[in-house]
């Protein structure tokens, strides 16, 4: 027997899933931004080395 009937518990469960999903999404988005910044930095260093090498 669940602690709450489904028609009452449904909105709370949905809210909890939404919170977890949003948190993970924000975290992954921040990490993606950091990784793309690292990629840009690697690219700029490569370009610089090409200029110096050429």
């Amino acid at each position: 027997m669940p602690a709450l009937p489904l028609h009452t518990a449904g909105k709370y469960v949905a809210a909890a899933y939404l919170v977890v999903f949003t948190l993970v999404l924000i975290y992954v988005a921040i990490m993606a931004a950091k990784i793309s910044r690292i990629e840009r930095e690697v690219e700029s260093i490569n370009e610089l080395l090409d200029e110096r090498g050429g």
Partner: protein, 177 residues
């Protein structure tokens, strides 16, 4: 660095625990938060303790002292985790029945399977995100070192036919140009 990333990620997930726990409490107890409930307050204390980790770490400049003090703090704060676990077990008021115990607990079989699968999924998510952030931090640190070495190399040995750029002019990223 590994403990720093682990604690950072744990704080993010602990925010989720606090919010979803409050939602559960509202559904089950009719209150978002109960201040005289030891299960909630002990978790909040641990959360606030770990929130102090990063300010403490970055308030120390010497890297060796920073690592040592941060490790001591992390271990001392970790001692509160079993306290929190025991508080949940000892709590009489409000708490749901003990769902996990040596004798099987009070969780129905179908619910137990869902719980264990969810537990494994969250653990895997944690490890994946931890590795991702750790790799990103290492890459960032290596890039900083590489840039510093390049600056030094340009300063010491300018390329033929080109004047050496002064230190600090090697672009950090396209946005810095």
């Amino acid at each position: 660095m590994r403990s720093y990333v682990a604690i950072h990620l744990s704080i993010v997930l602990a925010v989720g625990v606090l919010i979803t726990g409050a939602i559960w409490a509202k559904g089950s107890w009719g209150h978002w938060w109960v201040w005289d409930e030891p299960t909630l307050v002990s978790f909040l204390i641990i959360f606030l303790l770990y929130c102090c980790y990063q300010p403490l770490r970055f308030s120390i400049e010497d890297p060796e002292r920073q690592a040592r003090y941060a490790a001591v703090f992390a271990i001392a704060a970790g001692a509160f985790v079993p306290v929190n676990f025991i508080a949940v077990r000892l709590s009489q008021s409000f708490s749901h029945p003990r769902v996990l115990s040596a004798t099987g607990g009070n969780m129905p079989g179908s619910m137990r399977l869902t719980f264990l699968v969810s537990l494994a999924a969250v653990a895997l998510l944690y490890v994946t995100l931890w590795k991702l952030e750790l790799t990103s931090k290492h890459a960032s640190m290596e890039l900083k070192k590489l840039r510093r070495r390049l600056e030094l190399a340009y300063e010491e040995r300018p390329a033929a036919g080109a004047p050496a750029p002064p230190v600090g002019t090697v672009p950090a990223s396209p946005s810095d140009r």
